[in-house]
Subunit: 326 residues, 2 copies
């Protein structure tokens, strides 16, 4: 039964919200263990007491070094030392990455870990990566992201022979920036199921099973999507409520609107995998609700059950064949 | 009265759609002149006959050189030679840029022209640039885009002392990729009304009056927004129509949904300015309807009336003070 280390101090809403999420996720098939400061209410879960908290505003690498016994670093270390099978944190994303690199280390052959996030498209879920682990990327990084995304799509989304596309500014291979032009060539020459470029407009309609991009573009795109969904639903509500006829209609479509919101709700997945490390880490949104935390813990357990880390290791190039770490 | 050269052969929907748009835009305050092949129906407008058509799939620079008498190049040249005050094309964007660089040339001091596109935010229109003129950019380009965007916001959107923000992956100055980190410093040291970084999530809610980014990120973001708006409205309709109650509600909210769609419709502006040349060019969406073309022609005329090109020239650094063209 997977043991999931949960960083109880991570997230904007405070430990009670995280603990409630962990409690909700506890089941016959997974055991959450909390890592947090003495005195927090563990609500019946096991609490490993930690010292210090990494703040959202802390500089990641510095904070991880300065606070080795903080909830975040201790939870990551628990995976490295075999006391947990995966870690979940809604804390400082950069610090989770830094702690992962320090405590878990990279899988052999991995140049850069990437954040893989499920996107709720019309055709069903797809995965976008990198969603922000690396602000700058090189073409060979994008090729690895594609490999890691394919393993994720197969193991977690259950898609056989997943189709990979490269996010760019035109479908033609010769459209893009320097990075995507070179990455396109690498992807086309790889043994992945690469189907070419995709444009931003197809992301929600289901561009591909795996959408590959650099962490800057991926992060901008995800936040844009998040903001667009919220803005559009709010704008529609304002328009509806501006007339009596609209108000009545609004009452009638409320269940439909709620179904749509739930389907698109980032809390439905709750988290993103940090892929490429010798252990599984799930990063939850800083503003995670308990529902989001619970789903992030379940996502972590699913990754453990499907041996995501081992399967990644098997699919990535052997260290001898790969380039030096960048 | 501004004379607007219209590339009648540009756009996916064929000359009849473009001509209908130009006819709709004709008024007491502007005169559209068509540039197109002999034999098209000019519907009473002046037609300057041109030879050859640049296709969407043509390589921009090659096509502009190989087809100097095509409708697109001839329409741009009309501005360079003073026979028109601005040009509108829904054709190959790269070719409009290439023709602009060749025929109109850059304003003194401009390193790279940029595509400035109005974004319909909750707070009112804002402008995003570069929306795709340059796939790769350097920090000093982004500084110029900010200056050009500010002139656009003042002159065309009527915003006094417009607020400029840099699109990045965190609001803190130290969050971003190499390009945005360096651009942030240049912007902070400039005399623009720079308010720091903005994240994708605030683009539709009204992040700033001017949102600056490189052409790759800007193009991905715009297409993503376009796709998200379409996908969301479609998904909501599907949810609504899945139950009788929803269907009735859907009928009642139809006017509200239509108002929202119209407000967000890219056709409302119809086009984007290509800024930084010694003449005004408006790029319309390849799939422009006649409504979009008409609005693009009006947008061009508005730019002429507001002396956008002259005002840009006055605000940009003098050639002696600026770096060599990149």
């Amino acid at each position: 039964m997977p043991v999931i280390a949960v960083d109880a101090m991570g997230g904007d809403r405070g430990p009670d919200e995280v603990v409630a999420g962990a409690v909700a996720a506890r089941s016959d098939t997974l055991t959450p263990v909390l890592y947090g400061s003495a005195g927090i209410d563990a609500a019946g879960l096991e609490l490993v007491e930690t010292v210090g908290v990494i703040e959202m505003s802390d500089k990641p690498a510095e904070a991880v070094r300065a606070k080795p016994d903080s909830s975040l670093v201790a939870a990551v270390r628990a995976v490295a030392e075999g006391r947990a099978d995966a870690v979940v944190s809604a804390g400082n994303t950069g610090a989770v990455l830094a702690a992962g690199l320090l405590e878990l280390r990279r899988l052999p052959g991995v140049i850069r870990p990437a954040i893989a996030i499920p996107v709720p498209s019309e055709r069903g879920p797809s995965v976008l990566l990198d969603a922000g682990a690396n602000a700058d990327a090189r073409p060979e990084h994008l090729l690895q992201f594609a490999t890691m995304g394919s393993v994720f799509a197969e193991e977690i989304l259950g898609i056989e022979n997943p189709e990979v596309r490269l996010l760019s500014i035109g479908e033609e291979p010769e459209k893009g920036n320097q990075l995507t032009l070179e990455a396109h060539e690498l992807l086309a020459a790889s043994d992945l199921n690469f189907a070419g470029n995709t444009e931003g407009r197809d992301l929600l309609s289901g561009a591909a099973d795996v959408v590959v991009t650099d962490g800057f573009t991926g992060n901008v795109a995800l936040k844009l999507l998040e903001g667009a969904i919220r803005s559009l639903l709010e704008a529609l509500r304002a328009e509806i409520e501006s007339t009596p006829r609209g108000k009545l209609g609004g009452l009638l479509i409320r269940p439909a609107a709620r179904r749509l919101r739930d389907r698109l709700d980032p809390d439905t997945y709750g988290g993103a995998y940090l892929l490429g490390l010798r252990g599984l880490a799930v990063i939850a949104h800083g503003n995670s609700s308990q529902k989001a935390i619970a789903n992030a813990v379940r996502l972590a357990a699913r990754g453990v059950e499907h041996d995501v880390v081992e399967r990644l290791a098997a699919r990535l190039p052997s260290p001898a064949a790969s380039r030096a770490p960048g």
